[in-house]
Symmetry: D2
Subunit: 301 residues, 4 copies
Amino acid sequence: MKLGMIGLGRMGANMARRLMRGGHAIVGFDPQAEARQALAEDGAQTVDSLAALVASLPAPRTVWMMVPAGAITEDTVTALSPLLQAGDTLVDGGNANYKDTLRRAEKLASQQVHYIDCGTSGGVWGLAEGFSLMIGGDEAAVERLRPVFETLAPAKDRGWGRVGPAGAGHFTKMVHNGIEYGMMQAYAEGFSILQHKQAFALDLHQVADIWRSGSVVRSWLLDLTALALEKNPSMDGIAPYVEDSGEGRWTVAEAIDLDVSAPVITLALLERLRSRDADSYSDKLLAAMRNQFGGHAMKKE
Amino acid sequence: MKLGMIGLGRMGANMARRLMRGGHAIVGFDPQAEARQALAEDGAQTVDSLAALVASLPAPRTVWMMVPAGAITEDTVTALSPLLQAGDTLVDGGNANYKDTLRRAEKLASQQVHYIDCGTSGGVWGLAEGFSLMIGGDEAAVERLRPVFETLAPAKDRGWGRVGPAGAGHFTKMVHNGIEYGMMQAYAEGFSILQHKQAFALDLHQVADIWRSGSVVRSWLLDLTALALEKNPSMDGIAPYVEDSGEGRWTVAEAIDLDVSAPVITLALLERLRSRDADSYSDKLLAAMRNQFGGHAMKKE
Amino acid sequence: MKLGMIGLGRMGANMARRLMRGGHAIVGFDPQAEARQALAEDGAQTVDSLAALVASLPAPRTVWMMVPAGAITEDTVTALSPLLQAGDTLVDGGNANYKDTLRRAEKLASQQVHYIDCGTSGGVWGLAEGFSLMIGGDEAAVERLRPVFETLAPAKDRGWGRVGPAGAGHFTKMVHNGIEYGMMQAYAEGFSILQHKQAFALDLHQVADIWRSGSVVRSWLLDLTALALEKNPSMDGIAPYVEDSGEGRWTVAEAIDLDVSAPVITLALLERLRSRDADSYSDKLLAAMRNQFGGHAMKKE
Amino acid sequence: MKLGMIGLGRMGANMARRLMRGGHAIVGFDPQAEARQALAEDGAQTVDSLAALVASLPAPRTVWMMVPAGAITEDTVTALSPLLQAGDTLVDGGNANYKDTLRRAEKLASQQVHYIDCGTSGGVWGLAEGFSLMIGGDEAAVERLRPVFETLAPAKDRGWGRVGPAGAGHFTKMVHNGIEYGMMQAYAEGFSILQHKQAFALDLHQVADIWRSGSVVRSWLLDLTALALEKNPSMDGIAPYVEDSGEGRWTVAEAIDLDVSAPVITLALLERLRSRDADSYSDKLLAAMRNQFGGHAMKKE
């Protein structure tokens, strides 16, 4: 089918390409001319405004947003809202907070526009391997887009599904990312223990590679970890500084709202915060407290 | 090659079977006649004593132990020690503490017997899919057993390797299990958050199944989780009671010995302890403390 | 001075009493006649409506709210707002979220009514020992109430202070409670370890009592813990079920918003959530996962 | 009474002084001449060998060790053992692991020498305020030393007690220190949250000082925290580097041995390990993993 793709960055462009390879026609928009140019070379029609994008699509329209969560998603929805008509469908494939999604879906529903939230996992490997799609929204609207989902997913009948009403897709993707934080931290801790055991002089890439076949901890993240360890086993030149996107925080907040104790996902987030605080005030205060009661020396900065 | 297998339980019997399918000859011993009988039906020679087992093998002998860590491993090594001769090899395929392994390897080395520690992962699926083998020990001794490892592993050249000297195999397997605890807990927490979000009425098996293809969190543990959720999505009839084997504890202790902060692996262990303490003294005391300072009501048992 | 006290529950009534003992005059209101009656017997004037309360006070009025955070505080502020005049002061002595306080203070400022947030600690012991008061708001308005704060505090010049503008008082009290969670959990864990060490048959009340004098862990919470342990060292009849008020959650959320890793305060909150989830879904799923890969038996419910 | 004091460092010298002020006679030994000299000036008899120390004491002898746990304690006990006679008492006032204490007590018991473990809290403030003493050992032997304990403690009848047989004193002190870790971390986190909330520009020393009177979190550690914050509220020049002595580690290990989940004490220890690992391998690996799957930029060192 023919659909509009808004946001031609790393994720959006790859999804557009996978769709075109699957026989769909793409009208692409991105504020950056370069991004539009790159996709045009791969066969997409590109336009330089949201209005032109909507005008290029047959009714009922299908518009897929792949833009950063937060203000840009909000602005895009606001700008598209008057351009869309009853029966059109707007898909948010980004990482929006599901509470924002619920609000947006309700607003668009009032003008008979379907709002579908499609949590998308797979990262830069999705173009080749397919994306995992967790979809929320009206059943009929999701069904109409079946050919799109079947193409984006790793296989026609695997790796995608409507998990519930509007918001359910982004909620599920949020929890997916929370789990991802916990798994990554578990691997990172394990390899750090191996790395510190100097007596055994372990080859961490070899260990990761062994584990990839047959072990209980085999996973795609382990495959990637093996790649990272192959290139740079000592992690030379990489700062011990770990960013977090919003979804880990939201998962932690949601767990607490639901009275669910999720210590591992929570600690995985806290470790990322800690990684960025090289000058920890609390640790300094601890050192000062030890000095107060025990006369223990403090290390100077 | 022809080798002895001591311990014909779930793991040992499956490894013996995989070896026989791969063309090796097995002399099996287990104190339980039933276990011997079952393996004999699958083509193994079985014997009813360690002495008979050693006597049935050509020199240099290869004896593989697949018995519970701790006292039984200790007793088995002690009993075998006078029966083995210079040039023989004893493999511990169980989950021994690597410190015990170091001690045992040193003792057997003094009589020119090779001691190989082979951390083994794969569980009940190993018979069909192959086992992941992390091997510690003398290089030449490991090399002599190459045909055995190539058969046990998922493929000739994948899923096994000598990771270092004696002890390194069990050390690596210990950390493997620590990571496993963290990953399992991450999944369990994530699915618990999904399960508690009643507004979305999510089908947890469907979510797990979607994630299996293309998502960042896809893994073999997720495949198994999907199987468990398919059978019993509400976990009816299962007690919230999680055992731990020793390896998680050892990993936590080792991390602290190495001054490595491993909060996720550690908390995954603590959650298992917590799961078995339905009558938590600390929680009762907290309730009593709140009553003391704030006059807050305590729930009665 | 003469002031109005709204909310004559455990905290409000005790504060009113301490103020009267210090020479202040109280006009009390509570929706419950019984609560009014009890305070009237101790010498307060009581009224049966907010309007009557405001009407009974000389301008500029001082009204102190000691009501539950959330809807009741909101409704009370909304009801008082049209009754108050420029120059009056409304104090919120409860545990409001500081973000609500900022909003309320701004709204009342638009009608020249001062809004003071007074985080109050001390619990049921405050009547006798005085309350710890963390105050946010306009400097002059706080200064006008100096006699009130000096009476409520443990001493004229100790245990109270203006810590900053509106919101700063409730913010500081919120963090106070976060610390309290962490301290309580630390004691609870420690006594639980002592209690589980059956070989030493320790008398936990004796230990607490020894620690109260001279030890590094001496504190008021330890004094209370000793009282609880004296009464009921085995915690018989108390359910391992620990409530949480909002402030611990807010502290955890705020720490994450500020990118501060606060693992101990966070885990203290999670343990309370965990204490109330006797039927943990995540623990059941862990048991089911272990069964899947290792064939480990699951305990039945 | 007259007793020997071995180890005249910060703790031992102060305890000797408090004992002399209380009317006891001290024979002091320390390998460092300076330390002996300093105590001699305060009125102690000093000697330059363990043999001389034992020879200077009337039978039954009382010898108090205040030396570092581990090798030095072990060596001292070994050296004293042949010098002591049936009926003598040796007190270990240091922070030994209770398992070592059990072993030493058993060994000395075989020669009718009493071994008393006296967990000692109070730090550098103990000289003035008295020490908190948690005592393990034979009842009659402890009773014979009653005058010593009554002098060292904050008061005759407070702050000391025999908590159980040999080992129970050091066990109790170990858990005391575990609780101390948790409390310190709770305060450190709380003040860090306050410090990061720049909008309120809080004066952390003022907040600590307010909390010291009447609040739920008042404690001796808070008194010391207030002192530290008064001197250096921004913690300038102090490295975020926190040492740990052995007792926190032992508490964590013991909790796990007893199947007690103690997340707050455990995390407080892990945070100290983390504070000393400015170049965290696990954080670098996490950054590398994020780069692998999402193409996220890594910060360079």
